[in-house]
Each structure stands twice: as structure tokens, then as C-alpha cells.
């Protein structure tokens, strides 16, 4: 069968797939249950290509390409897992662990954390680089939620869900480099934010225990994300 106009055929890990031209490599992989690690990408949000975990090898390109923002092309041959990719992914996850103070054993998200799970999946049993141990705050001023910057990996999912889905744009990033930090409004206590609607979407898209509901103890914070693709689709239908 020949593909209809516009449909692209490509190979991922040696298997043949067809895809719409507006799909990314990651979209196709996800549809077909091929796991590509990522932290900043979340189905239903815009993509930023920031965490660099979803880099893949594409035949003919000497650069590694972020699968979340790279659109499929006819005849593309993609490799999602290789020794080299795993090596880089491990280093990136180790960097994330070394950046802030991730103490899994006392974390509300222990056992439900994307960072923790990915570390295990990549076979990381220790972090080879010294921990940075920055002094960052925990903001519990919101009546229902808490942000613990110790566990934030700056994936900006909260920023995007608040802007794109809720439409409040309460969150953004301040500063730059390793000192960057997510903030609410004018870097004020979350509880005093006039723009926050308290919808809690940011909490549920957060991959780690950085954003959580009050009253949750160690390992008790399970996140719910199924609402997201649904909301995004509803939104697109209305537009």
C-alpha cells in the first residue's frame, strides 16, 4: 500500500512506521509504545526541547536531534537507544540530581516520581558528580499547595500548563543559568498571588515532588495527568 499524500514513512529502531507530517518523532514513538526518555515534554503541552533527554540519532545527521521538536521526514531512520545515547541520558539525569536537593527517601513523590523512575530505568545507582547543595526555599503559603524548589528540575511544565491551558500565566522563570527559578507573579509567595486560580494543574503536571498538595506525606503524592490531553483537544476543537 502506498501512503496517501502527505503521509511520511520512517523507520524507528529498524521498524517501519507512517506518520502525519505535523507529527514529531516522539509522537510516533509514543503511539507505537517505543519509550524515549524525557522530562520537559508532556503530551498536551507545547514543546520546548529543553531537557535534552529525548535526543535521538537520525541517520545522515551528525547531530543528535531532540525527538520532541523534530518533525518526521520521509525516509528518516531513527535510533532511539544506543550506548552513546544512554551514556548522555545518564549524565543528564545525574546533572539534574546534582543540581538541587533531591532526597527521594523523604519526598512526597517517592515511588511516583518521573526523575526517580528514569534514573532507575537508565541504571543509575549513584551520581558521579558532586551535589551542588544550593539553599533554596520551600513555599507553603498557598492554602492548598506547596512548592519545594529543592525538587524542581526547571522543566517548565508548570509554566506552560498555567499559560497554555489555564490561561493564568502565574508561573514563569526568573534569573538565568543554574540560578534560574520558577516564580509566581513578581517572585512573591504563591499564596499571595492574585493571578493564581488555584486550579492545581501545575501540581499535577510536575514530574517530581516539587509541586504537591498540602497534607501529603512521604510517597503519598500521586499525580493525575489524564486531564491534560483531553483539555488540550477540547481547546483545539473550539478554536
Amino acid at each position: 500500500m502506498t501512503p496517501s499524500t502527505g503521509v511520511k514513512t520512517l523507520k524507528i529502531d529498524g521498524r517501519d512506521f507512517s506518520a502525519r507530517p505535523d507529527e514529531t518523532i516522539l509522537d510516533v514513538a509514543r503511539e507505537n509504545k517505543i519509550f524515549i526518555p524525557r522530562m520537559c515534554e508532556l503530551n498536551g503541552l507545547s514543546t520546548v526541547g529543553a531537557c535534552r533527554l529525548c535526543l535521538v540519532e537520525v541517520k545522515g545527521s551528525n547531530k543528535l536531534l531532540p525527538s520532541c521538536v523534530t518533525h518526521v521526514e520521509e525516509g528518516m531512520e531513527v535510533t532511539t537507544t544506543s550506548e552513546r545515547l544512554t551514556h548522555y541520558r545518564r549524565m543528564i539525569v545525574e546533572l539534574l540530581f546534582s543540581e538541587r536537593n533531591h532526597v527521594c527517601s523523604v519526598c512526597v513523590s517517592n515511588g511516583h516520581c518521573e526523575l526517580q523512575n528514569l534514573a532507575q530505568k537508565l541504571g543509575i545507582t549513584h551520581v558521579r558528580f558532586p551535589y551542588r547543595n544550593p539553599k533554596v526555599e520551600v513555599d507553603a503559603s498557598h492554602e492548598r499547595f506547596v512548592i519545594d524548589h529543592n525538587r524542581c528540575i526547571l522543566c517548565t511544565r508548570c509554566v506552560r500548563v498555567c499559560d497554555e491551558i489555564e490561561g493564568a500565566h502565574t508561573w514563569d522563570i526568573m534569573g538565568r543559568g543554574v540560578d534560574a527559578k520558577v516564580i509566581t507573579d513578581l517572585n512573591q509567595p504563591w499564596g499571595s498571588s492574585a493571578t493564581c486560580t488555584g486550579c492545581g494543574k501545575c501540581v499535577h503536571v510536575c514530574p517530581t515532588g516539587a509541586l504537591f498538595e498540602k497534607g501529603r506525606s512521604v510517597a503519598e503524592m500521586e499525580k493525575r495527568r489524564s486531564f491534560l490531553p483531553y483539555l488540550t483537544l477540547m481547546r483545539e476543537e473550539h478554536e
Partner: protein, 167 residues
Amino acid sequence: MLTFAKPAPPNDDKRWRLVDATMRRHGQQSRGLIEALHTVQEAFGYLDDLSLRYVATSLRVPLSRAYGVATFYHFFTLKPAGKHTCVICTGTACYIKGAPLLLDAIQKDLGVLPGETTPDGKVSFLTARCLGSCGLAPAVVYDQQVAGKVSAQALREHLSQWTRHDA
């Protein structure tokens, strides 16, 4: 239809007119944010919550985005500057030609780190990535005046003039 009214300036300080003019020139659009912040800093010396809030709401920029922009660019400062400012250039040429000695001297004499102001508010100590005056390395800017080939001794003397008898 939802109407949007531009907020009134926070107070009757005349300098808001300058800020308003810049925002008008950019069609009250969010893309004028950085230019508006430049004007605020030029007029008031620094950006505070009041001005950030005013500019953000006038240009319909989310507050967190305005704050994010203000803190992304190192040229902007959120704290009032001291009476005098001393900028040490730390560009490559200046570094090679002894800027570290100047940094050391100023940190010892004033007891403040780059980006800080002395507790008495007399001197702000800043560093610049490159003033483009590499031919004059190491370069220092004393209150907008560029000085070239500065020695630690000369720097100390200049600083002591500011800190000693300051009318």
C-alpha cells in the same frame, strides 16, 4: 467585548511620563517590555515591584513574565544603586592584564561583592563582561567615565576619594 483600560501611573511622579512615552511608542504591546524597562531604569535608577507591576499591566504582560525578563538581563537591577558606581571590566583582555587584582582590591577595600552596594549606600560595585575598551585593559568605569590601564593602586585612590569625604 472586553475592554482594557491602561492603568494610571502609580503616583504623580513626572518620570512616569517618560515610561508612558516609551510604551506608547511600542504601541502598548508586550514586545515593548524590555524597552519600557530600560526607560524605567534610566528614569528611576532601578526596577522595583511598583514599576514592574505598572509596566506589566500597561503592556498586558503577565507579572511573572515581566519579573522573569527583568531578572534575565544583567543590565537591569532591582535594587537602587549607590551614590557612585564602579564597574570593573572582566573581559578577556582585562582579565589577562590584571582585572582580578582590581576585583580583589575593591572587594578588600569596600567589603562588598560584585553587584552589591556598600552598606552606607555610597558605592555600588559592578562587573561588566566587556566594555569594548580592550585596547585600554584593564578598564574601569567610575560613574560613567571610562578609565584605562588602571592599576590596583589607582583604583584604591579613586575609591577612597568617594568613601572619605563625600559631600
